[in-house]
């Protein structure tokens, strides 16, 4: 028995990312976006009986799902936290589909986001808070720069093995900025970028420049997953969950057998197999983008081009919403911003918007099928989704 098409995204909401949350708490942002999502879905609070959360952006994470359920005064029959790093949001949608399809809940709310605390990631305490014991013992003494240096390692090796160029990587930031210019909700949506702008921004960890690094910020997003039968009678056009696939091959990139080959190869293959679709059938790419190299490797490993040819693929195409196969039409995290774990949900909410036909100025012409990919850690955990406007 497959769960292909048995569930659909029936509601969603997203707050505009902000650098400064203005003194609001993560719980406030999550409550606001939850209320907007049920309004979007045409549901009442009492209809929501499933609650899945990504980890908290601040404070004490102990019993986090219960903390949040209490704050929202909910008593869900299906409740959990999903921790797969940046893949958590897509993985939450998958787990929501499982819970709904199994009859454990009827309408499952997936909540993600929080405030950005400048402390986190920016000093040693923040750095080490996200490090494993092995990373503390065997990496920290050598001065790593967190995710920046790990992805720099991958980019450097990809350039060495396949001849990928700095210009090809910069093109992703440039095209995604074009998309952001058409997105009033994006954090960076006022000024276009050129490849020269990106390559002239300071080199932080070779070969990654400042304009190729996500900007952490505050925000929140939510999706509601319901059964396809029920979703068909709800106000919004249902966006069906046709394919889901996950994979994990390491935590620290040190322990990946081949750092230019990611577990997207397996997660995407599994998702496409469930959906009965292939890369050539997709109308939209919504891919986790903490750095451009993440996108290049995801495109290759999901099968949109042969291995090693991702650089040339992005160079030769218009990746904007005007192009033949648009990428990250909301601007991606590089221009939309990365509001904690909700950065990974932005790829999902944008795909829902596009498939519904609600993307406004940046609406793509063909919007039947989308490939969405969540990436956690350093190409470590992957959650791939195939979303469709048609159930079959």
């Amino acid at each position: 028995m497959t769960i292909r098409g048995r569930t659909a995204i029936s509601g969603m909401a997203e707050l505009k990312p902000l650098i400064d949350a203005g003194g609001r708490s993560s719980m406030e942002l999550l409550a606001e976006v939850a209320a907007l999502a049920i309004e979007d879905a045409g549901l009442k609070k009492s209809d929501i009986d499933g609650l899945l959360l990504t980890p908290p952006a601040e404070g004490n994470g102990f019993m986090w799902p219960a903390q949040m359920a209490e704050y929202l005064k909910m008593s869900p029959s299906y409740i959990n936290m999903v921790e797969l790093g940046g893949a958590s949001a897509c993985a939450a949608a998958t787990r929501a589909a499982l819970g709904v399809a199994a009859g454990l809940c009827k309408h499952c709310l997936c909540l993600s986001g929080g405030i950005w605390d400048p402390q986190v990631f920016n000093d040693q305490e923040g750095k080490t808070a996200v490090m494993s014991k092995a990373e503390m013992e065997y990496e920290l003494p050598y001065g790593p720069m967190g995710f920046n240096s790990a992805y720099a390692w991958i980019a450097q090796r990809h350039m060495y093995e396949f001849g990928t160029t700095p210009e090809q990587m910069a093109k992703i930031a440039v095209d995604q900025r074009q998309n952001a210019l058409a997105n009033p909700e994006a954090l960076f949506n006022e000024q276009a970028l050129s490849i020269e702008d990106v390559l002239n921004s300071p080199l932080i960890v070779d070969p990654i420049h400042r304009l190729e690094i996500v900007r952490p910020c505050s925000g929140a997003a939510a999706v509601i997953v319901s059964s396809s039968e029920i979703a068909a009678d709800m106000p919004q056009l249902p966006v069906f969950l046709l394919g889901m696939g996950e994979a994990c091959s390491h935590n620290s990139i040190v322990y990946s057998d081949n750092i230019t080959l990611s577990p997207v190869k397996d997660s995407a293959r599994r998702a496409f197999a469930m959906a009965g679709q292939g890369p050539g059938d997709m109308d939209l790419l919504s891919l986790y983008d903490c750095y451009p190299i993440t996108v290049i490797i995801t495109i290759e490993d999901a099968g949109f081009c042969p291995k090693g040819e991702g650089g040339g693929w992005v160079e030769s195409r218009d990746l904007t919403y005007r192009g033949p196969l648009p990428l990250n039409t909301h601007g991606g995290q590089l221009s939309f911003g990365q509001p904690s774990y909700a950065g990974g949900m932005s790829h999902l909410t944008e795909a829902v918007r596009q498939l519904r036909g609600q993307a406004g100025k940046r609406q793509i012409k063909n919007h039947r099928l989308a490939f969405v990919n969540g990436n956690g850690g350093v190409m470590s955990t992957q959650s791939s989704l195939i979303l469709g406007r048609d159930r079959a």
């Binding site: 990631f121 920016n122 000093d123 040693q124 750095k127 092995a134 013992e137 065997y138 990496e139 920290l140 003494p141 050598y142 001065g143 790593p144 720069m145 240096s149 720099a152 390692w153 991958i154 450097q156 090796r157 060495y160 300071p202 080199l203 932080i204 960890v205 070779d206 070969p207 990654i208 040190v254 750092i259």
Partner: protein, 126 residues
């Protein structure tokens, strides 16, 4: 110092590096574990590494938020592949940042850092 770390660099006095090896499946193991992660059967043994390897990948850190490293930029943060096949995160010393390349042959060296006496790698002149 943690027990495991102490064991893995127990030979620091004579400047050698011990790494784990599984006698059951004949594979090297890094980082140290109590049970072989490859076969889940073997109990790892310690073997002396050749100390030779090559740069598998690297980055030059131009800006560091870590207070211990802020004054050292730019420095080379690399992943070194030992002749035994395992890869170690490390620094490449005595190499100008402009000259670092993937594939560069390197050998073991030991330095006193802010986090203790640690194995790093030095370019082998060829």
């Amino acid at each position: 110092m943690k027990e495991r770390e102490k064991e893995s660099i127990k030979d620091q006095e004579d400047r050698s590096l011990s790494i784990q090896y599984c006698p059951t499946c004949a594979q090297y193991i890094f980082y140290p574990r109590a049970l072989c992660p490859h076969c889940w059967q073997g109990v790892p043994e310690w073997k002396e590494s050749s100390g030779r390897g090559k740069v598998y990948t690297y980055t030059v850190v131009r800006k560091s938020y870590l207070p211990e490293f802020a004054s050292r930029v730019p420095y080379i943060y690399a992943l070194v592949e030992l002749a035994e096949g395992i890869r170690l995160p490390s620094n490449i010393i005595d190499c100008p940042v402009e000259q670092i390349r993937i594939g560069m042959q390197v050998e073991l060296a030991w330095v006193q850092g802010d986090f203790g006496f640690i194995p790093v790698f030095r370019r082998i002149e060829v």
